[in-house]
Symmetry: C2
Subunit: 288 residues, 2 copies
């Protein structure tokens, strides 16, 4: 009865010509919840990670409007074959109240991007954006220790990135958010991780920095705006954008044209996908 193990080899369970072989009544469902939803990459990337592990599970996009969030999530969590959710803009902070238990990064940032069904109907939440961003820089060989950083956006993803980077011990971090309180709160969290980091809050700067990180939604999809004036960025600056669509974002495309090294949102996603699927599978996430 268990055909969770998949293979490219023909088998007695092989789908016929009028069937697909990647979903059935037994497939466990996971969803990514956001508004908008078209730009997300989790459905194809997390579903691929499930398949590579031989898990009969799928991640679908779930487009929920802000006015529906509380009512809709309460009911989605009652769907018996839905085992986990990922949250993206604008729900990473709102989703924190859905969890019965929180991981260390979620506690530090007040946001989650993954929620997993545990035994006895309990749900565990944690946030993996920060670990994913740090992992993306590690894979590129770009050190953060001792560097001067500008972080734009202190929402769910931005806060997670800020806290994770703080563990890498940069020299300075300047924080900007359209909501000054969110930037100030993140500054406090960062100082709690490493009090030796020179943390400041204020308008975005493009000079006297080594790394520029955009974790705001500015530039997503067809948004023509830019989070900063790229023409003032020196070619030595490494530019990162958490946005996965368009790819590259206008910020990354123009930074590349100026000779900057760039790190893509998709690389951050790759860095965290394995950790999120571990979390869904009940393995303990790595706590930095």
């Amino acid at each position: 009865m268990n055909d969770a193990m998949r293979s490219d080899e023909p088998s007695t369970n092989a789908a016929g010509p009028d069937e697909v072989d990647f979903i059935s009544g037994r497939t466990r469902i996971y969803g990514i919840v956001g508004d908008p939803i078209e730009q997300v990459r989790s459905p194809e990337m997390i579903s691929a990670e499930f398949a590579s592990r031989g898990l009969d599970a799928l991640m679908i996009p779930i487009h929920v409007l802000p006015a529906d969030f509380d009512g809709c999530l309460a009911q989605l969590m009652r769907v018996q074959n839905l085992d986990g959710l990922v949250f993206t803009i604008p729900y990473k902070r709102a989703a924190v109240t859905l969890a019965d238990e929180l991981g260390a990064h979620a506690r530090a940032t007040g946001a989650i991007n993954a929620l997993a069904r545990r035994s006895q109907g309990r749900w565990a939440g944690d946030i993996f954006d920060g670990m994913g961003c740090v992992e993306a820089f590690r894979r590129r060989g770009y050190a953060m220790a001792g560097r001067r950083l500008m972080l734009i956006g202190a929402g769910g993803a931005g806060a997670a990135i800020g806290v994770a980077i703080a563990h890498e011990h940069p020299r300075s971090m300047r924080l900007y958010d359209i909501d000054p309180k969110r930037a100030a709160d993140l500054a406090a969290s960062i100082r709690g991780v490493d009090s030796s980091i020179d943390v400041s809050v204020g308008a975005p700067v493009t000079t006297d920095i080594d790394i520029l990180l955009n974790a705001s939604p500015v530039g997503m999809l067809t948004d023509p705006r830019m989070p900063v004036d790229v023409s003032s960025i020196a070619p030595e600056v490494i530019v990162f954008d958490a946005i996965v669509k368009p790819e590259p974002t206008k910020l990354l495309a123009l930074a590349h044209d100026r000779g900057c090294r760039t790190v893509f949102g998709r690389e951050m996603m790759r860095g965290q996908i394995s950790k999120i699927v571990d979390f869904f599978s009940g393995s303990s996430p790595r706590v930095q």
Copy 2:
């Protein structure tokens, strides 16, 4: 930006090695709602029909418990990228109240098995089981006109099958349901379609019939029960079972051993899948 058209050929939109190519943030979601859910075939079969038409859409299993049905469905219908639902046991009757407009078969049976999002947030409902059963017999070349039928089960699927078969003008139809009122209601509907059919209500019979149809859940999954005593069925009787899992059901396996011709639940599904996807796509369903 539109990669809804799919192909087995490599393309610039092809998924990379860490991605699957059958789902993305733009994929439109459809679900089949039931309890239990593991046995359903719609996810693989309707998803295959979507793919064969070049539609970027997927059908997922949604396991909803009876106590959650009203609350959960109200919220699922607010998910912006969820465009349609299929209902299976035990929800075909309960789902009828979710529709703003009903097709002819749904009105005749008081049940739906498909609900499609229309413009202005309206939802259209209809039931396709009956058309699917009749189509399955047609494809086999087994006529129903002039035949003597025994139909077990007058729930959502059973009522739809009874009404659709009535349009085929059998000689007689005997109806049984664990709930006598449901059988009596279906008898009235059948007489409304064709008053010349000899309709009776009572315990299942296996003699003096040409076709035996099981549309009850008896025998589904690991249910060891049988809807009738197969040992009394003559080899000339054609036996149909609406259940799709196990395949074959115990009823069909034993009937086959006795030399009976058999028609499978999967054949009924095939008969209705194209019509359901037409309905989801906004094409008018064929009204018999």
